[in-house]
Symmetry: C3
Subunit: 385 residues, 3 copies
């Protein structure tokens, strides 16, 4: 261990630098030369790409501060939660840039636009979600390996979903959230040790760690409309994704508080529900956020997600640990897995109602199936390393 | 209690969804049809409305993370401070969208623009301010009721101030800050119990809770220029509101530190002053932030607000508790009440000096009076429930 | 002490207000008069200046929340870290506005644009860096004096670097980071007391204070691309500065984790390295971030900065304390000093390779020398007060 982790981290960084030297270039003044037989890439519209920058910063904030602090709620894993989150995301965004870029350019050199940086940040999110399922069960070395493997499978599934099936998933409910959760659960299943069943003192939360986790939760909640709208293809879709996510999240909060109080003894609120289920509305509305749905529809989706998420924390997570021998440390199945599936189903229904053509609904179904299947297979393989 | 809170929360969310189904619509492609006898609303300029999005995100961050964490400074109420803040704001923004929309559309169906989302977030702020006055004295059920009632009175007063009196209040010093504080003080007066006089161990702050509160305070401080400029009608006014708020806040900090050190034994700094009085400049410059005032005038307003706020915490809050039997948990009178009144007065003076016509100054005076009067009456009625 | 601090703070604020009354004006409607013999300043393009506002907010967030919380890692100085940070920055931005404005306008009245507010925030950063070196060794009064003196020297050096030498330093690696670190080290050298050598219980970090510091560190990390691109002269340079900083920081994280694990016993990660060395890539790429460097070059700079920063914390800081009698509380030499120098050197090399003309490289060298020299002289004089 003493030198294996540093050597692997340095080795991976050197590989990234070499891959960037081969495949990545910025726009240079030379691009603007109109030489017809130039092998240079076409000039980029810099003003246009800069328009995405505020959205990028919101997503960037979610990835590094939001997910990082959400994982500090465990007494003993607080610092490793936020610290390993940073390591995964920093390595992952480099690898995500490469692998996504190569899929899109079909193996050619490519340029970096601000949208590529948003996509690179996105590509780290499934790994951060999976990390939530295995927190406390893995070493930093294992996380480096998982980062590289999971992002590779993720990029392949994204290619399937968007290029092959031409499905819609603006907030990536299926391709990021369901994918990340089921990948993590598969890894957690492999890493199961019987001692986890009884719970562990390291897993208790303490008062201050719950406040730190609340920072992360609020950051995610606040910027989720930016997440679900960041890659929209035009202003109208972007606007709809923002408004739908805003109201879905609000409904999700009210319902999550109600359900938490209903299920806890003496009507108290459970802090884990507050930190997590309030976000389920953002996940679940992700697939159809940019579609022409009436506003109250987004609120219904958010409400359903809030119910399912709280009930999942209360009943499913203990069942998974004791019966299925899958120990989901942060309960990512309830925040990302089930709401991601709800998002996928809402997408299928919306598309089926909107268009007479049934092939679009089939595409959505294929996207949901592909996201879950590749996640489970990828997770089982990764967990076996 | 066991089921009353969840039933009421679910009931309110169902009502919201039904109201949204009746009254709220997004722009759809059908809007763009030019059919002259169409009952559809006119098409929205999506690119234009998206320009407000960065301002929306800043305000959204203040409402959910800023106000939430500012209320974590009490040892025992930390989590309920930030948790109930989220519940109030999530319910309130839905109700605020409906009630403000209906006031503006005179009861017709209406569209959601980004500005409506800013206004909806704004409408939750008076409730969050009032919550600071009653923190520790109310149940979650009471907060649900207060959210609905207070936002209704708030929207009615906003209609009076902006539509009937045509007064100016860009940062809503009178309509949000003074209103929220006096509403909360009236409720706190009704809920007074003699036990509150001696103080309570739950009300003590501890070192870490003070650092959490500082997070909230800084978030508010940093984004206040966005708050005071978010609804400006043109770029010139928006720019002025930003610059004036920036310098007013800076002056407020220096003066608040000086006054805190002057009043505390051995010249130490009082953390509550630092967390609150540093923001008073943002409140006080709110009414006239977009007017053509010379820059140093904003700094003078900020300085006065800093002095008044620190002296309020030191002398007025104990007086309120012991003599007036009003227990103001977070001292909102010193952060929002008095600086809000200073803002209203600064607005009257600025308008009187700027325009020869005295009716504008009378309008401003009517707006200040209306904001305080409706707040007190609304708060007394709400507290009696 | 009892009254000296408040009197000095109030006195300085009064001086600021008077200076603003004399020298600062906003654009008013009167500016738009086309009267040819008007002494008014020319009209400002408000829409143009507002384009910088999102960048301003990112920088503002870094200065007040990022630097503030980064300094909370010490058990006892947590609150004074974040509290004095706010005081320094609030006073400093006013003085920075005046002194930078007068340098640019050659002593005439001047207008405030959003870019001036970015520059004013920038001018406080060297003081915040120096504060990190002397935290725990100074009184609030001394910090007021240091704020005024250091910003004055900083503005003079900026004038030298950008106006006289015409050097490039978009992220101000030399003029802010190296300058702030060496200024602070010079002051710390003067303030050295032998008791500091043994370390002090107040200087121990505790678990929660490390999480608070991580908040600050992540905020800085997330918004650093905005810092390095905020004052870029055109969209193309701004875009390049963003992309280069993004990848330099990512490389810096991976390498910092590797080096930390390599140097610590049993391969553990050192929290101080994680909080600080991960940012070194942002500092080091600052000077050449907007130049036409290939993308992997930025990652190499970030990697080198990560290595140097961790080794600095491990070996140089103890050496400075015991041998050089300079006690650098937060280790600013490793986060800002050395990476700032690396940034300056990378700038010289980049310019030398890019242009055949060697005068540009000489200008860069002069800028680096001037920044370090004025910092050391200014710090020694300031420390002697």
């Amino acid at each position: 261990m003493r030198v294996r982790f540093p050597l692997m981290a340095i080795g991976l960084e050197v590989v990234m630098i070499v891959l960037f030297a081969f495949f990545v270039q910025y726009e240079t003044n030379k691009n603007t030369s109109t030489s017809p037989n130039s092998t240079e890439l076409p000039a980029m519209d810099t003003d246009k790409t800069m328009e995405s920058y505020p959205h990028f910063q919101d997503v960037h904030f979610m990835v590094f501060a939001g997910f990082g602090f959400l994982m500090t709620f465990l007494r003993k894993y607080g610092f490793s939660g936020v610290g390993i989150n940073l390591l995964i995301a920093a390595l992952g965004l480099q690898w995500g840039t490469i692998i996504q870029g190569l899929f899109r350019s079909h193996g050619q050199r490519f340029q970096i636009e601000i949208k590529n940086m948003i996509q690179a940040d996105f590509s780290t999110v499934p790994v951060l979600i999976s990390f939530g399922a295995v927190l406390g069960k893995t070493s930093p070395i294992q996380m480096l390996i998982m980062t590289i493997l999971e992002i590779t499978v993720f990029a392949a599934n994204e290619f399937l979903v968007f290029e092959v099936f031409s499905a819609s998933d603006i907030g990536e409910s299926m391709t990021i959230h369901a994918f990340g959760a089921y990948f993590g659960l598969a890894v957690a299943g492999i890493l199961y040790r019987s001692g986890l069943k009884e719970g562990h003192p390291n897993e208790e939360s303490v008062y201050h760690s719950d406040l730190f986790a609340m920072i992360g939760s609020l950051f995610l909640w606040i910027f989720w409309p930016s997440f679900n709208s960041a890659t929209a293809s035009d202003a109208k879709k972007q606007y709809r994704a923002i408004v739908n996510t805003y109201f879905s999240l609000a409904a999700s909060v009210v319902i999550a508080y109600a359900c938490s109080s209903l299920l806890e003894s003496q009507g108290k609120l459970n802090m884990v529900h507050i930190q997590n289920a309030t976000l389920a509305g953002g996940v679940a509305v992700g697939t159809c956020a940019d579609m022409e749905i009436p506003p109250y529809y987004a609120m219904i989706i958010g409400s359903i997600a809030g119910v399912v998420s709280v009930f999942g924390f209360k009943f499913l997570t203990p069942f998974f640990t004791t019966k299925l021998r899958i120990h989901d440390t942060c309960g990512v199945h309830n925040l990302h897995g089930l709401p991601g599936v709800i998002g996928g189903l809402a997408g299928i229904i919306t598309v089926a109602l909107e268009k007479s053509d049934s092939t679009a609904a089939v595409s959505q179904l294929a996207a949901l199936g592909s996201s879950i299947a590749t996640a489970l297979v990828g997770g089982l393989i990764t967990g076996s390393y």
